[in-house]
């Protein structure tokens, strides 16, 4: 992306001397191949060192991880659903749909994460488990960012509700509190547990008042003397107003109520109500939003954005979206200090709090070496019409750019490429061309795969790709002497020249073997027969054999004759056809009429008169066979003519 001012990564190629040699390369599908070479060598003599190696360099994409494959598969369905949401609906009606789409994406991420967690635990291999662990942490970050974007951009909750969503966001991503709670509450005496107070405070920091009160009760019951103090705290926690977006209360009313409660907490602090219990006093200080006290809880908060949300909860629960960035910045600086360099995740979240969508997408593109996240998120944001409203006039370009990148990555995978097709379909500017370029490169390993690719092209009227695939398959089948397959592929390719060539081969085979292969195909050519003259002849000739076999001699004879008179049969094949006529002429019954016999004789004469020049290449023996055959034919024809005349005369009389 454009302001990427990070240095490009250097990938080192082992055993290649870059000071004296050049690095040659070639693009492959999904990788790039490099090799040591020397481009300045111009002569013919041996110039280089021996034993060069070639290195396959691959882009580190997650598509090869079997678990993440599920993420790609399932998010593909969500993506397709999202594209189906009608553009003309008023955006107000679409918002719940967008939020639910967003949640679906996130639940797919979470499902993936859980699966990875299970495998990471069960695996014995240390390096594998760290690898899974790393993938999990990346997915966690992705989900965290996505969730925040959902709250801020897609759901776009107003003041009041906004903080409730942010609280949910923090609770969802700080699950160790629940783990700790379970551990402490199941211990023999929870109140004696060293982390007891940490738990109470953690609950308070997350605004989980009911749970905090429950745990606090256990302590209160053990200290009868301090009971009033505990019940005072219980009362404060209980009374804390929480905005109810579905209720009748207005934001102003809530604000007034909250201020009253806040003052009450403050009073308790002023009159030292909790002075005898430092823990309770700390809690009370948190309730009034005391900065120093909050910052003392760094360990429990663990992140600056938790600190931000807690601080807002106890100081500005009605914070407006537009004011968020101000608090976010100050909280981040307070929590992390100003000297520390930001982790990418911190700057991405900060950009989100600043409502700088473009920056979020850009930073994510740099930080993650997979386009899955940015492509899907940007697509969703674009559907929400958020890119335009954020003054990104190239919004749809950005969306298409990212979706194209993601889909192109999928295309390098041997099975995931099929998902990419739908992504390309939804890129109006370049999707079609990209698909054309990519799909014709899908290896056609089997006929089944070829048919799959073909169907995709046919559905999209990609005539050139359809033709090319069929042509490749026909060529390959012919190479392997599978004539039937070659013929059916070339018919699909509507490749007349190739169909002619294969028909010739069929006829040659027939001449040498006396029988046809692939009868099923030839018998069922139908109108496809018309693709080439030779194919028509092949089909018709086979039809003749069928009629003959079924003893429909009259029909067979008529067809045979028409093959010659209508010039469907190539001249080179006439002798074979005439020889085929012999058994018909020899039948007891007269089959060829006098007129038909005349025509046959004419054909034979035409053929023999052409051949008056003796062919020097033809051996004498062949010539003898030929002339005997002609004599035989002449005899049979004359005999048949006589019979036919007699028969025709008899019937008429």
């Amino acid at each position: 992306m454009e302001e990427v001012d990070v240095e490009p990564n250097i990938t080192l190629i082992p055993g290649v001397d870059f000071r004296h040699k050049h690095l040659g390369f070639v693009w492959g599908p999904g990788d790039i191949v490099v090799y040591e070479t020397n481009y300045t060598e111009k002569g013919g003599g041996p110039g280089g060192s021996g034993r060069p190696a070639i290195h396959v360099v691959r882009k580190d994409e997650d598509i090869y991880s079997p678990i993440l494959r599920k993420l790609f598969n399932e998010s593909h369905h969500i993506f397709v659903d999202l594209q189906r949401i009608k553009k003309d609906l008023p955006s107000k009606n679409k918002k719940p749909q967008f939020v639910s789409i967003s949640k679906n994406y996130r639940s797919v991420i979470r499902a993936c994460m859980e699966e990875l967690q299970q495998i990471a635990v069960s695996t014995q291999d240390d390096s594998l488990s760290t690898q899974y662990g790393n993938q999990i942490s990346i997915l966690l970050a992705v989900e965290l960012i996505w969730n925040l974007c959902e709250v801020l951009f897609i759901d776009a909750a107003p003041a009041g509700t906004l903080l409730l969503h942010l609280l949910d966001w923090v609770r969802l991503h700080k699950v160790d509190v629940d783990v700790k709670a379970r551990e402490i509450l199941q211990s023999d005496s929870p109140t004696k547990h060293p982390a007891y107070w940490d738990l109470v405070i953690s609950f308070v920091l997350q605004g989980r008042m009911d749970e905090a009160r429950q745990v606090l009760m256990k302590q209160a019951s053990l200290q009868p003397a301090a009971r009033p103090m505990f019940s005072l705290m219980d009362n404060l926690l209980h009374k804390m107003p929480i905005f109810n977006p579905g209720g009748t209360q207005t934001l102003t009313e809530f604000d007034v109520k909250w201020r009253h409660w806040h003052e009450e907490c403050d009073r308790c602090l002023q009159d030292s109500s909790f002075a005898s219990n430092s823990h309770l006093e700390t809690i009370c200080k948190i309730l009034v939003g005391d900065e120093d006290t909050l910052l003392e809880q760094k360990e429990l908060l663990s992140t600056w954005y938790h600190f931000l949300v807690t601080r807002l909860l106890y100081t500005h629960p009605t914070v407006k979206p537009t004011d968020l960035h101000h608090y976010a910045q100050s909280c981040m600086h307070m929590f992390l200090g100003t000297r520390n360099a930001l982790e990418p995740l911190d700057s991405i979240l900060l950009a989100a709090f600043e409502f700088d969508l473009h920056q979020v997408i850009k930073d994510c593109s740099i930080a993650l070496n997979n386009w899955w996240f940015v492509a899907h998120l940007t697509d969703l944001l674009d559907h929400c019409k958020l890119l335009q409203s954020h003054n990104l006039h190239f919004g749809s370009n950005l969306r298409e750019f990212l979706v194209l990148e993601y889909a192109s990555g999928l295309f390098t995978h041997h099975s995931l490429w099929q998902l990419a097709v739908d992504y390309f379909d939804h890129c109006p500017e370049f999707g079609r061309v990209y698909l054309e370029l990519q799909i014709e490169r899908v290896p056609l390993d089997t006929e089944r795969k070829a048919l799959k690719v073909l169907r995709i092209c046919e559905q999209r009227q990609m005539t050139e790709q359809v033709r090319s695939i069929c042509k490749i398959m026909a060529k390959r089948a012919l190479r392997n002497s599978r004539l039937g397959s070659a013929l059916s592929w070339s018919i699909r390719a509507k490749d007349a020249a190739f169909a002619t060539l294969i028909s010739e081969r069929f006829l040659q085979d027939y001449c040498t073997r006396g029988s046809f292969s692939d009868l099923d195909l030839i018998d069922n050519l139908g109108p496809a027969m018309l693709l080439s003259d030779r194919l028509t002849f092949l089909g018709k000739y086979r039809e003749f054999h069928k009629l003959y076999g079924e003893k429909q001699f009259t029909e067979a004879a008529k067809l045979l004759l028409s093959l010659m008179t209508a010039k469907i049969a190539p001249r080179s094949f006439w002798m074979t056809l005439l020889t085929d006529a012999l058994p018909l002429l020899e039948q007891k019954e007269v089959i060829f009429s006098a007129e038909q016999t005349h025509e046959l004789m004419f054909c034979l004469e035409e053929l023999t008169s052409e051949k008056c020049d003796p062919n020097p290449d033809q051996p004498m023996q062949d010539e003898e066979v030929e002339s005997t055959k002609i004599e035989l034919l002449r005899l049979a024809l004359a005999r048949n003519l006589a019979n036919a005349i007699v028969k025709e005369g008899t019937v008429e009389a």
């Binding site: 990427v4 490009p8 990564n9 250097i10 990938t11 080192l12 082992p14 290649v16 001397d17 870059f18 000071r19 040699k21 050049h22 690095l23 040659g24 390369f25 070639v26 693009w27 492959g28 599908p29 040591e36 111009k42 013919g44 110039g47 280089g48 060192s49 021996g50 034993r51 190696a53 070639i54 290195h55 396959v56 360099v57 691959r58 580190d60 598509i63 090869y64 760290t130 690898q131 662990g133 993938q135 982790e343 740099i366 930080a367 298409e400 194209l404 192109s408 061309v433 990209y434 370029l437 490169r441 050139e464 090319s468 042509k471 490749i472 060529k475 390959r476 190479r479 002497s481 060539l501």
Partner: protein, 367 residues
């Protein structure tokens, strides 16, 4: 990026060119050892050498595959002044068992009087056509009129470029709006102040190739050129390897009259220019969808260039030798040594702290 696999190529001298077939399942390599080798990828992603034979009597500069519509066909060109066309035939059964295949020389093209520096098949929509260029400054276009008979090639066109030629590139556009077009680069260092990239276009009326444009701004020797896939656009994009990497946009100007038979004139714009290789650039090549351009230069690096959605170009990756001495014995044990887990340096930009180092390893797992 990371090195997923290293294969000992087993050539006895420098490799000059490696070429993938259309589907990326086969690879051809050529070398100063005068041979060509063909490599096939198995289903589990391993590369096996299935053929190796002596092709020329000099260094083999380039090797290239014909489109699979024409079968399994290779062309090579050499210092021995010839280019040759090779076809694989379905071999005897015992060959198949040994995993070897047979390549037959179908023709030798001997028209050049000097070293043949580049060989390229024309885009498939033009039929089966082969183009060569040579140090004597001639581009030759051959055609196989019968695609079933690759032993017959007729010399259809000879284009005299008047400069020693180093490289050619066909415009891949199959749009009817674009007549066949070929770009020729010259590394002639005797002639200065002359444009070193010439563009020739086929004229339907004269049935000849005529010069349409000379890129006058490229006066230094040119070592490689590459047209990008057209992507349905009205203009063409051409990458040039010279003393730097340059990307040109060629916008066809509307002809003055419809009947005008002269070649198309272009408005030439420089889209990008990178001098990070510091000196000569030797190769440029686009990926399938032309979202990435790779270049190789005197700095010993391959650099990857990418444009964003606003057409701003950046270097997004560098491949470089680690400088370690060449291990001469690596190729002697077997025909392919799998160097496997050689990971690249960890990315500087991981989302969560130290996540990246282990993650790179993750990528080495077979898919």
């Amino acid at each position: 990026m990371f090195v997923a696999k290293s294969i000992a190529a087993d050539h006895k001298d420098l490799i000059h060119d490696v070429s993938y077939d259309f589907h990326g399942r086969r690879m051809a390599t050529c070398s100063s050892d005068q041979s060509v080798k063909v490599w096939d990828k198995t289903d589990d992603g391993e590369w096996h050498c299935t053929a190796s034979w002596k092709t020329h009597s000099g260094s083999v500069w380039r090797v290239t595959w014909a489109h699979p519509e024409f079968g399994q066909v290779l062309a090579s060109c050499s210092f021995d002044r010839t280019a040759a066309v090779w076809e694989e035939i379905v071999g005897e059964s015992n060959d198949k068992q040994r995993g070897q295949s047979h390549w037959i020389k179908r023709t030798t093209l001997v028209d050049s009087r000097t070293s043949v520096t580049d060989v390229k098949f024309a885009p498939k929509h033009m039929g089966l056509m082969l183009t060569t260029c040579s140090a004597d400054g001639v581009v030759r276009i051959y055609e196989a009129p019968d695609v079933m008979n690759l032993s017959q090639w007729s010399l259809q066109h000879e284009i005299s470029c008047k400069l020693s030629c180093s490289c050619i590139s066909w415009n891949p556009s199959s749009s009817r709006a674009h007549p066949p077009m070929i770009a020729v680069g010259s590394d002639d260092s005797n002639v200065t102040y002359t444009g070193k990239v010439q563009i020739y276009e086929y004229n339907e009326n004269t049935r000849k190739y005529a010069k349409a444009e000379t890129l006058m701004t490229v006066t230094d020797p040119v070592h490689d050129i590459a047209f990008a896939p057209n992507l349905g656009r009205s203009f063409h994009v051409l990458a040039v390897a010279t003393k730097d990497v340059r990307i040109f946009k060629l916008i066809p100007l509307r002809k003055e009259s419809a009947t005008s038979s002269g070649p198309t004139k272009f408005e030439v714009q420089v889209m990008a220019q990178f001098d990070s290789h510091n000196s000569q650039v030797w190769r440029v090549s686009w990926n399938i969808t032309s979202t990435l351009l790779a270049s190789s230069g005197d700095d010993g690096c391959v650099r990857l260039w990418k444009a964003n959605y606003m057409d701003n170009w950046k270097c997004t990756g560098i491949l470089r030798g680690d400088g370690s001495p060449v291990n001469g014995s690596s190729g002697q044990t077997g025909s392919f040594g799998n160097a496997g887990g050689v990971g690249g340096p960890a990315s500087q930009n991981s989302v969560v702290g130290a996540a990246s180092a282990g993650r790179k390893k993750a990528q080495l797992m077979p898919g």
